[in-house]
Symmetry: D3
Subunit: 339 residues, 6 copies
């Protein structure tokens, strides 16, 4: 096994199943997937594309809940084991800095990242088109909206779990205001979470078909002694629609716009009925990953077919080995003279 260590806390209660003996892939599914069924709340038809974190002695999460009017909003969920979840019946009650209620027309695909002692939630909302909304909380009772970090049109913003060079660091995926048929991952910096700059390109779609149309950051990067481990989604355009798979890459620890390794193979692609059949068929969409720094275990949380939440497992060492074995480092900005 390759020598790679997750830098972080132990998480002994991380959900886990050992790899099935007949599995040759580096990532395997939880046998009880999907973990959240249809109609989990009276007015919520489907929960998917959601992010979880350890919290106190259990887990907490922000969940994309598709209401029965078709509008997505963000709901808070609690769990002891990170598998069985209970949800607050009402949408998360954001407020602005002055404490006045703030409710976007819609909000979807939330991520949840802790930097220092604050939890940040990022999502996609309407701001005359798809844009990144953001809020912070320390107690999961008060959620204070922050300035939108970027101009429209943008989706899939993912904060790094610590500052680099004194600055907050955020990945995002500029797009258009429709079912975007293109998309690269970019990275930006901020001293204060209000003004953002030093935008750099990170990765483009590749020449491999599985992520040839567009890509977007998934889970908050996991810090390792070999670099930041990033799970992202990659999309291919078949003659019958988009297929979303999950990929993995390693970013430079100090200069995370540099891609050190990038796996030419997907690590998970739609195969099961709950991934292939649903409101949007053929979607595996990662939004979070739990990891246990001690054992190297990783549990990836991913949305399935815009209808369900699934978990997939991996160990950091086997995954790293697999990435190296199929490494295809992208051309960096530097090399093509854009910096």
């Amino acid at each position: 096994m390759t020598d790679i260590r997750i830098i972080g806390s132990p998480l002994p209660n991380i959900p886990w199943q050992d790899k099935p003996s007949d599995c040759t892939a580096p990532v395997w599914r939880f046998s009880c997937n999907p973990i959240i069924n249809r109609n989990p709340l009276p007015n919520v038809a489907r929960i998917f594309n959601s992010a979880v974190m350890p919290y106190n002695d259990g887990f907490i999460g922000v969940f994309r809940g598709e209401q029965r009017d078709g509008m997505p909003h963000i709901y808070l969920g609690h769990s002891k084991n990170a598998i069985d979840w209970t949800f607050e019946p009402e949408k998360i009650p954001f407020t602005n800095a002055e404490g006045k209620p703030f409710m976007p027309i819609y909000a979807y695909d939330p991520r949840l990242v802790k930097v220092d002692d604050t939890y940040y939630i990022m999502w996609c909302q309407d701001e005359y088109g798809a844009s990144i909304g953001m809020a912070k909380t320390t107690d999961f009772r008060t959620f204070t909206r922050l300035e939108n970090p970027f101009l429209p049109y943008n989706r899939n913003a993912v904060l790094f779990p610590r500052k680099i060079g004194g600055n907050f660091i955020m990945l995002s995926r500029p797009c258009d205001n429709a079912h975007t048929a293109f998309g690269d991952i970019f990275i930006s910096e901020s001293k204060d979470m209000e003004f953002w700059g030093r935008h750099r390109h990170v990765m483009s779609p590749s020449k491999n078909w599985w992520d040839s149309l567009k890509i977007g950051a998934g889970a908050a990067p996991i810090e390792t002694d070999k670099g930041w481990l990033l799970f992202y989604h990659g999309v291919v355009n078949t003659c019958n629609g988009y297929v979303y798979s999950i990929g993995a890459a390693i970013l430079d620890i100090d200069q995370p716009s540099r891609v050190i390794h990038r796996c030419s193979n997907y690590i998970l692609a739609p195969e099961e009925w709950y991934e292939e059949r649903g409101f949007v068929p053929n979607v595996c969409f990662p939004c979070a990953a739990l990891c246990d720094a001690e054992s190297g275990r990783i549990a990836i949380y991913y949305g399935c077919a815009d209808s369900y939440v699934g978990i997939a497992f991996a160990t950091v060492s086997e995954l790293y080995e697999y990435i190296l074995a199929h490494d295809e480092v992208s051309v960096t900005d530097e090399e093509i003279g854009l910096r």
Copy 2:
């Protein structure tokens, strides 16, 4: 329970199952769905998007039968219980007024409505593009074609079950001659079933996502003392195609172009394998509803994934209550000065 009454005949033999105890929605599925399997006739591959009515001591229906050459035509079906159906092996033999056979190149999505003592069938056929065809019968042996009521391009014509103000009243959905990406419901009047006018707008797609792309009338409106109960289909455009759900609205009893109530939530959306998987995935398409004026029971007949027929149940009072609880009356023509 809200006080609302269906105006009509009792139908004690309406198909029925009580609501499952864990169901929080106002509409629930028949547990034996789909009620018609693949390849029901030697040359018919799939039956779906069909309309039924009580007839004699049983039921009769007009069914969209997709032939093995891919062309849809209309078939007659008979049933004792409205669940188990037997079909005439040949397409319905329409004739023109002089009794000469008339057979459109294709005919699909039929509706069946009785006004006074005559049964009217409406469908979509080619007339240099998608258009409304119509015929009448009193005995289900002779089917006399009527003039096409409207210019192309139009689909989803649904007659009201009685005249209003002395005129026949028909809903329809003007469209283009392809996989139309827009669509409002309009209403028209006729003194004689030959000349039509007084076209009025009824409803547009809403700002809610589930019916944001296009809408079209489904079952013939059900008369109640609170207005006409209309089931309609609403469509959202996802990145992997259209999703068709079922919605409900109440139209003014005397001036049915006025929408009195409109439910912002869908009342049924694709969730089951027979709705999500098939020739056209993710389609719930209502074409008829049986109702028992005595009990208030309603059985909605809807096409599933362009492959099957399903039944869903509701009671008029619970449904009405749900519509009121999620009411979102559309802006009427009047208010925006178009009348």
Copy 3:
């Protein structure tokens, strides 16, 4: 010269220029085209696609005036010679039957037809999409709006100048709610200008390229002893946009859905700078034709590049001869069994 006679009144003051000696075509342009310049009124940027008629001892017309906010509306114009026009500074003040003002959001491509003693104006307006608006007047002071004759989406409605079989007869071109890429001419009947039916197909785009994409009626049909002479526009889709030309056909005098003759050649296509250059380049769009039954002279009024009005001349006998020489009767509904 072929023996064909216009059935109608003499119009000795019809605008006229003799055919240039080097012209081999059946239609030739007025040498002083365009007859209306840019910015003819303070708030009107361009006048085009307009219809004129003899009135009293001069001429009157309804004109598409493109306002400086980009919205088209209809303006009244007067002329002694049908060449030099003065315009009322304000839009035509339509009222509804009760005399209340009615002003559509926009109104364009008007036609003007006199049936018995009443003048009818048809245009395209918004009714949840492009639709036919209609009004009548007897004195060009009061303009009473009539019911919209058809459901959306429709453009290019043109009334016949007399009833046939006791009914009003109207051509129209069903379409979609965008820059329609298809379009046939249909015909409809009404006893009362309120309810319309007996919709029949008249002509489709042809296999000739110049009118292969879509066609639409232009001027009100001219009655002759050989049938109704119809000028229509035909559109071809080049790699740099649509080109609108003018075509001609003869419809059966009693059964005008029957095309007796149809000229496979266009009779006028964009060639001059005022037809090729402008707000919408490459457009010749006929909306009216004056004719002198005595001399057989015809003056076609056509919009040029959505920017100007032009006049082209022809004689009925030479035109008829040309149509016969390039005749290509369309396949009628009858023959392909659609009736």
Copy 4:
């Protein structure tokens, strides 16, 4: 039963199941479909759209293997019973004429045809766009690439199993370089497998909906005393994507550009979960057919939903009878004057 004979060798070990008693169609599925599961090799995610042949005392085949980077390549497989397959772990090692390795960027939808003593493989590869690649082998160890027979853009090339008139004969489907929305089958000749000409049109999409968008040759034609039996795929464009079904036609034995019979009905269309659900839903895509000249049994190998391989059975006599019963001979080039 109609008197038709397959011209060829007996194949007593052809896979077979008798027709289920409740089946009214001429083709029925193998009850153990799909015969190849997901992830059959460590780096191959899905095998589908593949071609098999008898070889020695068993069977051999060329298989489209979708790698985990999303790129398709061709793999060799062996089987005793044509149902259970073992695959070579590496892609087929093509070489050029000089013996140097040749590996296209991608290669998909292979066919395998034996002419005289040589086995030819055709596939689709990138040559500045989708193009036909070709190779030959006699021992399935050395695979020598031949010249690409045609200019781009082309897919679905299928060789005839013997020369006609002294020339090699190949079907193909010219296309564009994307998810082509059109497509006819053409036929070409060659004296030497290097220079190709005498291109003739064979079939266009029909007016029947199931094959109204595009068609492409499937299995190598089966020689019978009534002509060449061709299985092909036909595609319809629904509002939620393409549906691929299987059709059948009979081509003239000496002049195979002439279609003698063409079945207006499909003979197999997506109905089972493994055809309706997968990477590209709703695909039945035939690439090969085994046949036993003695019994008239046929086993069609077809790709399912770009995810699996399935087998379907038929007898030549029943199939022929069905084709005749639903015959719709296409208009040939001759008749419309293109030769």
Copy 5:
């Protein structure tokens, strides 16, 4: 005349022609337009969409020069009278902060704005899609590139000529990476020209047709005692392509995301041959405006048909009066609850 004053310096040598007596519009063209002809430099085919400023005792400008390989770059030009221009033969030699040469692959539609004592140039360049590039200079010899202010995809960035509330202020138009069919104007702030935030929406396309598709800031806003006078381009999508016209609005002086007045009419639209005919027909695209605070004279510089540069004149008072007379203030963010 309305009482409005430009806040700024006198510019007595502003180019000027009095308004023609027959002109009823608030803006009129320079009679010698276009001022720059085709092929102004050996390798530059067309100059258009360019920005000028007073400099020393004459004028200086940054010009979009379309090279003969089709790639646009930015060239420096000098003029005594702001009408006759001489150009540096080579592209502007940008350097990065360390002095190393920086040359984008392409750069187009430059703006030039002076804040305090520094001149800033903004343009659109490739950064994995259309993005805003920026540089500064004090002497027009050294041009130091600054950080790109925003993530892709963005065009039409325009800086305000002074800080507001201590921050730099910039308008921009987020877009996609193609011929964008949508577009609103947004505003952003920065303390340091490196990190940007407080993004606010300014204006959307209107319901008027001339600017119904997309809008983008044109010239640097002109400070007046009534607010910031903004010239912008508005685009309508006709059936034969986009038409670009020039509009005007007044922004709040201290809170420039608030639109105080917005003219529902365009103030200049393509009418002349040099605007209607060229590489991209029907384009009037403003990039700069000179103004004389003393006389209130304004000279708008605008690109014509992607082929030429033109000048149009106005006086601030007449223009302001015209804006007020056709005012249509947009719905602000505040009112619809987005702040």
Copy 6:
């Protein structure tokens, strides 16, 4: 001047004008352009995209004549000076090998090339989509159709004026059956003008904008001692349509699929009214070039805006020098491993 020689015959009567003194480009227009006006024949509206050759003591040519029904056909023209042309009034009467008349539905963009003692005409015609038609003649009275060389879809076939390596050589541009938005130049060989093979890629669109969308061969290559001089058209997609310019490249004399030099700049782009305005605006489309081997003079014949024919002049030495000065050799097949 660079030392380059045309290999061929002297042509002292080549049309010629010296280069204007203010012209800095390598190619300049004939001052009397366009040389053919609108409506040159009673039934021909426009002549453009045509090819000429020396013949006897004058010149002969094949001309695309757009008929008044919009259908293009090929007409023969004669000229003493290659500037003033007279046309045969009827289309070229092709026959098949047996002498029976052959007339394609349409035929456009002809080229004319002499190999040995035979003149070959290539054009684009319908063969179930755009395809290459071909005929030969020795006397310009009998025109015998040859086999179509390629499968559909293809346009812009251009033969080389002599065999290379014993084979006929032809350039072509595979495409789709619509307004193709892509296109590379390929080359093919034939021993007998009936069977074609050894297809090789020659050039793709470049990264320069002017030829970034698609390219196609123009005139028959001119043999020089430095290689084959090829004029081709390159297309850019602006927001208002395609712009066609003329480019130049040098192909290897013995292996003409190898591009030796390719000019990154266009050599002629639409600038004049007859190039920018017409049926398809902004088109310069070369189909032939006359050259005088003695003086090195070249006269390029090109279609203008699908409406006119123009001539442009160059000398081989100046042109060659210009190509070298802006050389950008394309990546050949070899280098990227496709051979």
